[in-house]
Symmetry: C2
Subunit: 313 residues, 2 copies
């Protein structure tokens, strides 16, 4: 059985895994993402340990997949200066790991990797054309066409978080106004709650201070029945529904998979979401498109990285 190494580099933690081509994770180690030098050396140490424990010099390891938040140059295999990681500047990730281990290395952004993992091992197993949303602090996306990640002309396809949903709407972290991310992300949900929560609101009680309100508090209050919290989730779901509708109209995919922290609230998001998409999208493409929660949950980071080494059979 061939092995694959996955490296999932996040702003706060880095996960190294060893998995099978069937998507089974056999070993995994997680550590805090530190300075570039420390993190690379830790990662290499873990990979060496995995290889000696599992591969045992038998060359059963097919390659190393690296999943990482951007900005990336996928052609050159370089990670530019990610926010909050000051020592990481123009890092030729692909080259570094290829040279250290003499193995094929594939690099992609975390949303594309997650999309492919959901296609190979998760909700999208039976389809070849899907769009994946990750709705979390930010919103990312990945487009799978014919079973493979579709990258586009400059490797920027799938950037659904910065499509404009409400011209002139709330300001987005990217500098524009009315992006999907500014309307339906965890950050947007928290912002709406901070703006609207009355003094005696359960949201505020859960958070303690207004400035500490996050999407988790809103989800918790909504599940406990708080009206404002439910309205805020429905609002986010409404904007997400417009985006999903537009993806259905333009791409007519077989499936839309929605993952990320905000999606974990289940029906709170999915019920109003699907109601609106049904109202907005044309019947035939709507009926041809399953809208499902992501399946891989906390494994999506590791399986995303591992997926990058697996080609369509």
């Amino acid at each position: 059985m061939p092995y694959i190494i996955g490296i999932d580099i996040g702003g706060t933690k880095t996960s190294i895994s060893l998995g099978s081509s069937q998507g089974k994770i056999l070993a995994k180690e997680v550590f805090a993402t530190g300075s570039l030098k420390t993190t690379l050396s830790q990662a290499k140490g873990v990979i060496r340990a995995f290889l000696s424990r599992y591969d045992k010099g038998l060359k059963r390891t097919k390659g190393i997949g690296i999943s990482c938040a951007g900005p990336l140059d996928l052609k050159k295999g370089i990670l530019y200066n990610p926010p909050n990681m000051p020592t990481w500047r123009n890092v030729p990730l692909k080259k570094i790991f290829a040279q250290s281990f003499n193995l094929p290395v594939a690099l992609d952004n975390d949303a594309n990797a997650a999309a492919l993992a959901e296609k190979l091992f998760g909700a999208g197993k039976k389809v070849d054309n899907l769009f994946y949303y990750t709705v979390s602090t930010g919103i990312g996306g990945g487009l799978i066409l014919n079973g493979e990640i579709y990258h586009g002309a400059s490797f920027d396809a799938g950037e659904i978080g910065h499509t404009v949903i409400m011209p002139g709407g709330p300001k987005c972290g990217c500098g524009k106004r009315g992006c999907l991310e500014a309307l339906a992300s965890g950050t947007a949900i928290a912002r709406m709650a901070r703006e609207k929560a009355a003094k005696n609101s359960p949201i505020l009680r859960l958070a303690g201070k207004r400035k500490d309100i996050d999407a988790g508090h809103v989800a918790c209050a909504a599940e406990a029945g708080d009206r404002l919290a439910r309205e805020i989730y429905a609002r986010a779901a409404f904007y997400l529904a417009i985006s999903v509708t537009n993806v259905i109209q333009v791409l007519n995919p077989e499936m839309i998979v929605i993952g990320g922290g905000v999606s974990k609230t289940g029906p709170l998001l999915f019920k109003p979401l699907i109601k609106s998409v049904r109202a907005f999208a044309w019947k035939r493409p709507y009926r041809s498109c399953k809208i499902l929660p992501a399946k891989l949950k906390d494994k999506v980071g590791d399986l995303g990285a591992i997926s990058l080494i697996l080609k369509k059979s």
Copy 2:
């Protein structure tokens, strides 16, 4: 040299053409679209005449391409009940022409066919991935991926006219609100002018009566320097820019081609359009995407139909 027959069925006229695989139109005949029976019999008569004049029984004709406004079932090759063509109900177009002429027949909607024609013979000759807009009375679209029409799960991909651009915006012909078609089509331009033109407006002078204002009058007034008319065009261009931005963010195409009657105004539409897309879209995918007017102009209908028979080389 192989020949191809093109049939372009529109609500008011039907065009039959005979062209080469290089996109040269050698013969063409246009007649008013009438009842189903009359139109089919006229079309067959013209095709027979073309075949006897050009093919001369030498079997150099490769097939018949049919381009048609929807609603279509592309899998079954059926045209359902198009608006304003009451006698056309559930017409098995593909079967009818295949049986009559014993030739391969391909059917697609007019926007997809036009997209392919622009890729093969027009603005998109040098690229393999483009999105085509036709901005006319309505707004349609076609997606070309890897040099071919991308149809999606239920053959509904490319329906850009009914993506939602402004939630809660003006009512669209499709019943929804805030669709691109309700904001940037010729119909939308005329509606804005009817709503806003003052009594002494040059737009109104050109049209005669308020109810007779169409997009052509607005274009004419704008070209003559009328401020309101220019504002209306800029408004339509702004909404179109949001759609173009979103296509760039999600699909990262090499090219966006814009055709249809409204695009014929040139800079009036393209100048504000490109300015807004540059402001809204991310730099890298924006720079990778040429935004160009369609090149085939009045030939796009015939070449669209003909294109359907041409496979990627």
